[in-house]
């Protein structure tokens, strides 16, 4: 059929055909049926997430992410990574995909690090389809969350030697008050509606010593963590997963090996007045939620792969009044097939100061953050984000950029509104939109100097007529180029273990005596006043752009 066609036309036809193949599966599919693939990391020695919820026919990709070998084998032997991967040992970096065709509850375990009954050690459970699953509860039965404080205070170490002891003894509504000290713990919170509070944010320190996975992991609803620091964990500082209702206030998380402050599959939460730095992935992460109903307010994210990252955070997500500085990229909303609820959408980003993104190698990072490095605010394969009154300065590549992403599907990035931002000092363009299908995005009232394509704001106004000058291909080629560079190993990031220690951070007003309020309705009770948020002032001293 291509015989006789001029070479250029034949090539063009092939390109169009290739685009068509990459595009068609996404068309009309993603709205009704969220794709059902979820990433399960096997670190030392736990699964994350440990409760894997999937639709019937969905799949889990198990990736070995620690320093030891791991695997995942069903207690009823219905599946095993040995069958799909070909070896009972999965070494760090190995991955394999397992499909779950039948509805049901499938406990699984690591044959090296758990008992074969799937009860003790490195264990997880796959919950497939629309089935009721209640996690094992122990002797106390199912504890119900409460909205009001109980008035009880349990003190660590005065009454309980460890934080975990106090948590396990606590009833919903209790306050666990942790005194000054360095705690080498990995706390797992299964008691709902407790408040975990340090008496001094800078002197109550959980320290993983680069050996322990996560400082505090919360698997119960309505848990608040306040006024303390987590550092030097191989994975995360503070982590809520699979919960409804959570709050993190006046927290500091630095030099943790994956995320600083992390909410995955968690809804109805607030993360505020907190500081995260030195995480190779992101300082703050809220992902896989639809709708999220999560507010990030007045936080600082620094020296990380990303300051804030939201993958498949799909609806009612707010990033407000915060500062993101010296990250590889400042703020990113992303869509991936590897998590539930794609595409990401409806993230409101207002009043943030984003500076020095990807400019130097002071930030931690890893291969996945490097493909997007150098952008202040990146909206990647997502929809209907609102980006307003942010101050974006000194970005290596783009100040605000809109891009599609090609995962298993092609996810276009559309219908974002970019208004009244100040965007200056970007290496390639202050405003940019690239790739096929990058449409429906509007720009009004921004202060900027350069845009790619030319006329991006003038011809795509939020309140006027629009011309088909919505994106160009060069910005996407830059994206592809950086993927190539990353694959070739051509990038430099700093070791997360050695990033700067943050200066002392402000304590929670009232400290130990502040009122106790369980976080079960944290989002609903949060007063969102978007209209009054001002554009932040520029940073006092910005780093000079590197040559």
């Amino acid at each position: 059929m291509l015989d006789g066609m001029p070479a250029a036309r034949a090539a063009a036809a092939l390109v169009v055909a290739a685009i068509g193949v990459a595009t068609l599966p996404a068309c009309g599919k993603q709205e009704a049926h969220p794709t059902g693939t979820i990433l399960v990391s096997m670190a030392d020695n736990s699964y994350s997430p440990s409760i894997v919820r999937l639709p019937v026919g969905g799949s889990a990709v198990f990736i070995s992410a620690g320093r030891n070998d791991h695997n995942a084998v069903a207690v009823d032997k219905s599946f095993s990574t040995e069958k799909t991967f070909g070896n009972i040992k999965m070494q760090p970096g190995d991955m394999t995909e397992i499909v779950f065709p039948t509805q049901g509850v499938y406990p699984f375990y690591c044959t090296f690090h758990a008992t074969p009954d799937g009860l003790v050690g490195m264990v997880g459970v796959a919950v497939v389809g629309d089935v009721v699953y209640t996690p094992p509860t122990g002797a106390r039965g199912v504890l119900k969350p409460v909205a009001e404080a109980s008035g009880n205070t349990r003190r660590v170490p005065q009454q309980y030697p460890t934080i975990q002891n106090a948590i396990d003894a606590a009833d919903p509504g209790d306050l666990i008050l942790v005194d000054r000290g360095v705690y080498h713990e990995a706390v797992f919170v299964t008691t709902p509606s407790v408040t975990l509070r340090g008496v001094d944010r800078n002197e109550v320190i959980l320290d993983g010593q680069h050996e322990v996975g996560t400082g505090i992991m919360v698997g119960a609803n309505g848990v608040a963590i306040e006024n303390m620091t987590a550092r030097n964990y191989t994975l995360n500082g503070f982590y809520w997963t699979g919960v409804q209702g959570f709050r993190g206030s006046y927290l500091t998380a630095y030099n943790n090996g994956d995320y600083g402050i992390y909410a995955f599959g968690a809804t109805d939460g607030v993360l505020e007045h907190s500081y995260g730095s030195g995480s190779p992935d992101s300082a703050f992460y809220v992902g896989q939620c639809a709708p999220c109903r999560v507010v990030l307010n007045d936080v600082v994210g620094a020296y990380s792969g990303l300051g804030y990252s939201g993958t498949n955070s799909s609806g009612d997500m707010y990033v407000l009044n915060s500062r993101f500085e010296h990250n590889r990229s400042g703020i990113s909303t992303t869509t991936f097939d590897i998590e539930l609820y794609p595409p990401g959408r409806d993230t409101t980003i207002i009043g943030n100061l984003v500076s020095d993104s990807g400019l130097d190698n002071e930030a931690s990072g890893f291969y996945a953050t490097e493909t997007l490095a150098g952008n202040g605010i990146a909206l990647v394969g997502t929809h209907t984000n609102r980006v307003e009154r942010n101050y974006v300065v000194n970005s290596r590549a783009h100040g605000i950029v809109i891009l599609p992403i090609l995962d298993r599907h092609y996810w276009a990035s559309t219908h974002h509104a970019i208004r009244d931002n100040v965007v200056v000092g970007s290496g390639r363009a202050d405003l940019a939109a690239g790739g096929l299908g990058t449409i429906g995005n509007c720009f009004s009232g921004n202060r900027y100097r350069t845009s790619i394509p030319w006329g991006l704001e003038t011809l795509n106004r939020c309140d006027g007529w629009r011309a088909p000058v919505a994106s160009d291909l060069s910005t996407y080629m830059v994206f592809f180029g950086s993927i190539g560079q990353v694959r070739a190993g051509q990038f430099t990031v700093s070791d997360y273990k050695t990033r700067p220690v943050p200066p002392p951070q402000p304590n929670m007003p009232g400290g130990a005596d502040a009122p106790v309020h369980p976080a079960i309705h944290a989002f609903a009770e949060y007063h969102l006043d978007l209209a009054s948020i001002p554009t932040p002032a520029p940073p006092a001293v910005t780093a000079a752009p590197h040559p």
Partner: protein, 106 residues
């Protein structure tokens, strides 16, 4: 917030959006190149006129080369001029009309 998830653009919308972006650039390059090429081949114009047309072609994007191709060109055949000028413009209008019809290309 927006309760309706906007669907990803269709392949046709993507292509029309791409053409809508690229065609004006292509037409500008083609029209000015044709005009300058013809101007350089003509023996019947005085140097002052050559300067006048060249400045017009450079300084007035679209209008300059179009004016030359419609009124001045002599070495180019009429069908070629018609195809380049009317055909090119009509293609862009067609892309815009199709885009407006199916929506979502801008």
């Amino acid at each position: 917030m927006n309760p309706v998830i906007p669907s990803s653009p269709s392949l046709l919308q993507m292509l029309l959006g791409l053409y809508g972006f690229l065609l004006p650039l292509v037409l500008y390059v083609v029209w000015s190149t044709l005009a300058l090429w013809d101007l350089g081949r003509r023996q019947d114009v005085k140097p002052a006129a050559v300067w006048g047309w060249a400045i017009g072609i450079f300084l007035l994007p679209f209008a300059g080369p179009l004016a030359y191709l419609v009124t001045g060109a002599t070495t180019l055949s009429r069908p070629l001029r018609l195809a380049a000028v009317v055909g090119g413009a009509a293609t862009y209008v067609l892309v815009l009309a199709l885009g407006a019809g199916i929506g979502g290309i801008a």
